[in-house]
């Protein structure tokens, strides 16, 4: 899906070579400050690398329309983003941003149920807990059905049980729809259980790439 070659960004990232496979679950682990989030931002093209090249499905990122790229390579930030409005507004805003058609309420209900977010569509989102906001943000990007999901610490605001549920949900969703999932995580357990490829970063460098034996 992605190929990085001699990529540097300030003194945060220095990656000689990295391949992120298509239709697979890739986990990126490493200490905080090791450049994991910056790597995701590079893939989402929210920032451009200072030197080196990044390819997405054989195309150089520099030659792809950045907005269209982000509609297919969607990133979820660590702090869940909440926009003014109701739960429904917040769920549909991703589709609105990417100029896709909104979906029926029925589909929204089902999605909310699947992540155990039992709320009314007209609920006031600003009163949600951190975990609830995070689940809402996940539902928002699932509705967009992009080719690639880039998740930055998606479970940091969740308790263990909900974390497992959410990751499970994301993984099965990705597999069912034949998508690609890249998860930045602190949790070794998530990487071990779900990662088909685990990339370990340290001080901006890739120090280990491990393929899961299945």
């Amino acid at each position: 899906m992605f190929l990085l070659s001699d990529v540097t960004f300030k003194n945060i990232i220095n990656i000689e070579k990295l391949r992120i496979p298509r239709n697979k679950i890739t986990c990126i682990v490493g200490e905080s400050g090791s450049g994991k989030t910056t790597l995701l931002k590079l893939l989402n093209h929210l920032i451009s690398c200072d030197s080196g090249e990044i390819w997405c499905q054989g195309k150089n990122l520099k030659e792809i329309d950045p907005v269209l790229l982000r509609r297919e390579v969607v990133m979820l930030s660590q702090a869940p983003l909440i926009f003014p409005g109701t739960l429904k507004d917040n769920l549909l805003i991703g589709l609105d941003f990417s100029e896709k058609k909104p979906v029926e309420d029925k589909e929204l209900f089902e999605l909310l149920k699947s992540v155990k977010l039992d709320k009314d569509l007209s609920a006031n989102v600003s009163e949600f807990s951190g975990g609830e906001k995070q689940r809402l943000a996940l539902c928002r990007i699932m509705l967009m059905e992009p080719e690639v999901f880039l998740l930055d610490e998606p479970s940091s605001a969740l308790d263990d049980e909900t974390e497992e549920l959410i990751i499970e949900k994301m993984v099965s969703f990705t597999k069912k729809k034949n998508k690609t999932l890249v998860i930045v995580t602190h949790s070794k357990r998530i990487a071990q259980t779900h990662g088909e490829l685990t990339v370990t970063m340290d001080k901006g460098k890739i120090i280990q790439v491990e393929e899961a034996v299945k």
Binding site: N44, L46, P66, V67, R70, E72, V74, I93, S98
Partner: protein, 262 residues
């Protein structure tokens, strides 16, 4: 009664009693702003005296180059004033946008107003050209200062939201839509509010001046209505151009937020 009662020097001096009252209050209360108040009053007096003589000369000469020269002079100072009024950092590209929007919006309105609304002949008649251009430029200056400050502040304080929207594939335009609309509204609200109170809460300066100089109140209100609409138009045009071009200055050609510009 026609014409205006001339105020003599002695009578004018009598008006300074109001200043003395203010000075007495500040001294008694220990507010300690006497120097500032005196200086402001002095500046007001000197500036207006000079302006009076300059206008007498300009109206007398009544040359088109004078009208244009003064227009350029007013635009220059208005734009400088905008930069100094905005207390937060303005990036270079936004400075250019502010300048262009001011020049474009105000000039267009002034031309339309003088030629179509008033039907001024000759078009440069200084007695009309200068005060009308002054009112339009002055109000647009206030509007654009408010709008630009809101725009910069909005993008700065809602940086995460803007980036979050970009991450989900929003165009920079869509990602900043709320901020842009807020900035536009903030800039035109004072003009709209001033229309609401007009004629009830206060009589606008231009109308008062015309009435005092013997013009029929009905003619005076015609001018006042027209100039208010002209001001509204100019403020809307300048601010709209500024916000529509302005948000782009925070992004690069790869639709990325330029953190350096904030």
């Amino acid at each position: 009664m026609n014409g205006i009662i001339e105020i003599g020097v002695a009578q004018l001096l009598a008006a300074y009693v109001f200043l003395v009252i203010l000075l007495a209050i500040t001294r008694r209360q220990g507010i300690g702003r006497e120097k500032e108040i005196l200086l402001s009053s002095l500046r007001m007096t000197i500036q207006l005296i000079i302006m009076g003589y300059v206008l007498v000369y300009i109206f007398h000469v009544n040359h088109f180059l004078l009208s244009i020269g003064i227009l350029v002079f007013m635009e220059y100072f208005a734009i400088r004033n905008i930069y100094s009024r905005i207390k937060i950092k303005i990036n270079q590209r936004l400075r250019r946008v502010i300048t262009l929007s001011m020049l474009f919006g105000t000039t267009l309105t002034i031309i339309y107003f003088l030629l179509i609304v008033i039907g001024l002949k000759p078009w440069y008649e200084t007695r009309y050209f200068i005060p009308i251009a002054g009112m339009i430029i002055g109000n647009s200056m206030t509007g654009i200062s408010l709008g630009a400050e809101r725009l910069i502040d909005g993008i700065k304080s809602r940086k995460e939201m803007v980036e979050g929207a970009l991450m989900l594939g929003a165009t920079p335009e869509r990602a900043t839509k709320t901020i842009v609309n807020d900035a536009f509204t903030a800039a035109i609200i004072p003009t709209i509010n001033s229309m609401v109170g007009m004629g009830i809460v206060f009589l606008p300066g231009m109308m008062t001046g015309q009435i005092l100089s013997g013009v029929s109140p009905l003619t005076a209100i015609e001018y006042q209505i027209a100039i208010m609409l002209g001001i509204l138009g100019s403020v809307s045009l300048t601010v709209f151009a500024m916000v529509q071009l302005g948000y782009k200055t925070f992004f690069n050609e790869r639709s990325q937020l330029e953190h350096g510009e904030l």
